[in-house]
């Protein structure tokens, strides 16, 4: 149990540590020092040690870190040792793509329902989940224990759908809609704004060009 919620900057880096450790395990690496890991990941060794020590001492002086142990501990911190039930709200292209993505389940994120307003989609099955109509949603959430809702809807009805989800007990929203959701502070929102990501890429293209022109 952590003492308190840790700075966002650190949390942002945790999944990347987890990924690299997973790869090291696959390569059969048993132990690693912060220095070796820092070279692999291109961050400072200092940052690695500082980050990890937010959660307690996972290493051993003179030895380094035990890879499988550290992997598991970070997994626990990220809550990957538990199963999270998830629904997808909005079964358009993106919603369906996410529903088809197998790896989420391997990490403990189990899709238990898919919803849409479009009657054309009703009953279509995606990896064992039939697409349901939105009016079934409140009843569904009463019967099932669902923590996370993935919001893959057009912006215009995303806000009211988020309200509905919160009202029916959803604890976290993975938001792909292009707006900032206004939810009670005990509801987690994690945004994935693809168009903003693409704009940043575009900026960097632009920026590099300008840098170059001057030379």
């Amino acid at each position: 149990m952590e003492e308190k919620c840790i700075s966002k900057a650190v949390i942002k880096r945790l999944p990347r540590y987890y990924r690299y450790l997973g790869e090291l395990i696959e390569e059969g690496v048993e132990r690693i020092s912060s220095n070796e890991l820092s070279e692999k990941m291109r961050v400072t060794a200092s940052q690695i040690r500082q980050d990890l020590n937010n959660f307690g001492g996972f290493g051993q002086q003179g030895y380094g870190y035990n890879v499988p142990y550290l992997y598991e501990e970070i997994g626990k911190i990220l809550g990957l040792d538990k199963t999270h039930h998830m629904i997808i709200v909005g079964a358009g292209n993106l919603g369906q793509a996410l529903a088809n993505y197998v790896k989420f389940e391997k990490r403990g994120f189990k899709i238990v329902g898919i919803f849409d307003v479009n009657p054309v989609l009703k009953g279509i099955s995606i990896r064992g989940n039939e697409i349901r109509m939105m009016d079934e949603l409140p009843q569904f959430l009463k019967e099932q224990d669902v923590e996370i809702a993935t919001l893959t809807l057009p912006k215009n009805n995303a806000a009211e759908t988020a309200d509905l989800l919160v009202k029916n007990g959803i604890r976290a929203i993975w938001n792909f809609a292009h707006l900032d959701l206004d939810v009670p502070k005990d509801v987690i929102v994690e945004n994935v704004h693809l168009s903003e990501s693409l704009m940043r890429l575009s900026y960097n293209l632009n920026c590099y060009e300008n840098e170059h022109e001057k030379k």
Copy 2:
């Protein structure tokens, strides 16, 4: 033309400003002060002014900012006044979903080709683009002027595909594969690691629970 590339923290916020300004335009708002905008966006007015002044003075003392003007200027900074040709490499669920997404084109990101290794997909048309096989890619890139490649492939052949793209003149990669690409420093990489996003959400769920238990 900017003097130099600006801090990442600022760039990360630009698309959000752009989005809010776009909404204000739709509402018919002509001018806005940093204070009004700060309330809407829940950031400090100081930050808004500081951010914008990285690119020059867009406002006017005693008046505030002209909304359509500021919107256009930020658009220019983000390179949204130009058309960017883009290909999608990897026509799985996610690749196809992105190919179907209409809004990118509205922002100047035009998809001009879709590629995959799977012969089953060959010739399938998505919004006017037929899926091509990967071996056609080098020739395609010679004939067409493509800046951006969206990488929606499984991790295992993402690295070599990135090399191939770079070798054939791609200037930016929008990377959805779960690995860090190793490219020359003049090639832009913008990562979208969905599973990492989901892990952060999971952490926050976890963290909040622990906070609560203690009470």
